[in-house]
């Protein structure tokens, strides 16, 4: 076999290898980047939830979507405590209210 032929074969192997490696490398890189982006978004959401100090975040089936994350960010309802009524003792004989108990 001529040198020209086996050099051609080696070049073809080299080029095919490069194409495969770069192609697979690109696919893996793309997947990794997508995952990292989503991970970053999720992390951001969790941080916001912590800042909001809501009681327990409502777990929804689609908690990884932006919409549900927004729902989770609703401010908690402010509950005003009902004042406890003060009881004044009444005189059992005359029925008048007495400060002294």
């Amino acid at each position: 076999m001529k040198a020209k032929t086996w050099v051609g074969i080696a070049l073809a192997i080299f080029c095919t290898f490069l194409i495969v490696v770069y192609f697979m490398g690109f696919i893996v890189y793309k997947n990794t980047t997508d995952t990292q982006t989503l991970q970053a978004i999720t992390n951001k959401n969790n941080t916001l939830q912590v800042v909001a100090s809501t009681p327990e975040p409502v777990q929804t089936e689609t908690s990884n979507t932006t919409l549900s994350s927004t729902q989770n960010q609703l401010p908690p309802t402010q509950v005003t405590p009902t004042p406890t009524p003060t009881t004044i003792p009444v005189c059992v004989n005359c029925g008048r209210r007495s400060r002294a108990s």
Partner: protein
């Protein structure tokens, strides 16, 4: 290939590769180097790179036309064949070097594999990548693109740049060379030899040079005969040898090899077939033009075989036999010689009358014209029938396919390989 392996020069190259391997193997136990998939591919990548580099360096030595190199390959034509072969092998090994280094990451980490072969912040690796890409580009030009000689020469010279970048790469990158002083010293020696040879080939003078002037130029449509006269010392040579000539005239500055076909006292003559872009213009040379003659080169010598001989010339391959036939009366060669002069037709039989005259005066010398338009292509059957082939030495010069097919056929018929001598003119 088999022929090349027989030469002393090939033994030297093999020895260089073995020494490199031994030094490399001594740095770390082989068992450890090939203990698992990752380390095995990494080690293979390293050794292909190292041996590829040694061979790359030696290709420059093989183009240096140094006398000791020519001697070790038994002629410049064989030396250039080895240069071609070793250069190709070096290229293939260097191509596989990054592949094997990267294969270890596959399939576990495609991302790392891809980034490994991509330029990065590491200059050591970047030099290697650029060297490899430049080498690929220049060798694709050499192997697959037909170029004019001058452009081809420049592209081949540029391989020196790829070589220098590769040297920077191997000494900068953190690997066995940086860890082991013996390997570092060995590679420095090899790389320096290659570098010196490259500088000599590209920028310094090669071989002995003689100054001649054009004495006469005769031409017909197909052939041109140029006779040169020495200005100072005449070049001493043996019949059948060749020289590189450069004419000091615009358009003729390229150095080309031609067989010294004619010898007239101290004058020398070259018979040139009007074939290529250079040779078809040599008839435009005129007397008085100075010529730089470098040589002599070649080991094609009929006196080395002390037995009856068959000479086979194809076309312009007659030139060394013209020189031989003029030499026969002087050497008083006693054995019988049959010269088969193969050509397309009668008009291609250059110097036919001169050969016939010698044949008439010498009883042991016979010239047989073999024109393709009348007798077809020459074959071993014809040689066997007309002259007999056993216990004879064969000297063949002509187109490479013709020489190869005749050689193969002769070997098949029982002729010993050492009895077949050929002169290759297909080198640049």
């Amino acid at each position: 290939m088999v022929n090349i392996l027989r030469k002393r020069g090939t033994a030297i190259i093999l020895m260089l590769c073995i020494i490199t391997f031994i030094i490399w193997a001594m740095i770390e136990p082989i068992a450890l180097r090939f203990s698992d998939y990752a380390s095995s591919t990494h080690s293979l990548g390293q050794i292909t790179g190292l041996i590829g580099m040694v061979l790359f360096a030696w290709t420059f030595v093989l183009s240096s036309r140094a006398k000791w190199v020519e001697d070790s390959f038994d002629g410049l034509d064989k030396m250039y064949k080895a240069h071609h072969m070793i250069g190709s092998l070096a290229f293939v090994l260097i191509l596989f070097h990054p592949i094997l280094l990267v294969v270890k990451f596959i399939p576990s980490d495609w991302n790392l594999a891809a980034t490994y072969l991509w330029p990065s912040g590491s200059w050591a690796v970047n030099f290697g990548i650029v060297a490899l890409l430049l080498m690929i580009f220049l060798l694709v030009l050499t192997f697959y693109i037909r170029m004019k000689y001058e452009k081809w020469r420049i592209s081949h010279q540029m391989l020196g740049v790829a070589y220098v970048l590769a040297i920077i790469h191997i000494f900068m990158v953190t690997t066995d060379i940086s860890r082991s002083i013996p390997l570092k010293v060995w590679m420095i020696i090899i790389c320096l030899i290659g570098l010196i040879a490259h500088l000599q080939v590209s920028y310094l003078k090669l071989g002995k040079r003689f100054e001649y002037t054009v004495y006469s130029v005769e031409t017909n449509n197909k052939f041109t005969t140029i006779i040169l006269r020495p200005k100072g010392n005449a070049m001493k040579f043996k019949s059948g040898q060749f020289a590189y000539i450069k004419f000091n005239k615009r358009g003729f500055e390229e150095r080309h090899p031609f067989t010294i076909a004619v010898k007239q006292e101290d004058k020398i003559g070259f018979v040139i077939k009007n074939l290529g872009d250079y040779t078809s213009h040599v008839s435009e040379l005129e007397s008085g033009v100075t010529a730089d003659v470098e040589g002599p080169y070649g080991r094609f010598d009929y006196t080395q075989a002390n037995k009856d001989q068959i000479w086979i010339a194809g076309g312009i391959g007659i030139t060394p036999f013209l020189s031989f036939s003029n030499d026969i009366p002087k050497t008083k060669f006693k054995h019988n010689i049959s010269l088969y002069y193969c050509a397309v037709n009668d008009s291609e039989l250059v110097y036919w009358n001169e050969l016939n005259k010698i044949s008439e005066t010498m009883k042991n010398f016979h010239v047989i014209p073999f024109c393709a338009d009348k007798r077809g292509r020459i074959s071993v059957d014809v040689l066997e029938r007309e002259s007999g082939i056993l216990n004879k030495a064969f000297f063949i010069c002509g187109p490479p396919p013709m020489m190869q097919s005749l050689k193969d056929a002769l070997v098949k018929r029982g002729v010993k390989k050492e009895d077949i001598h050929r002169e290759d003119f297909s080198f640049k």
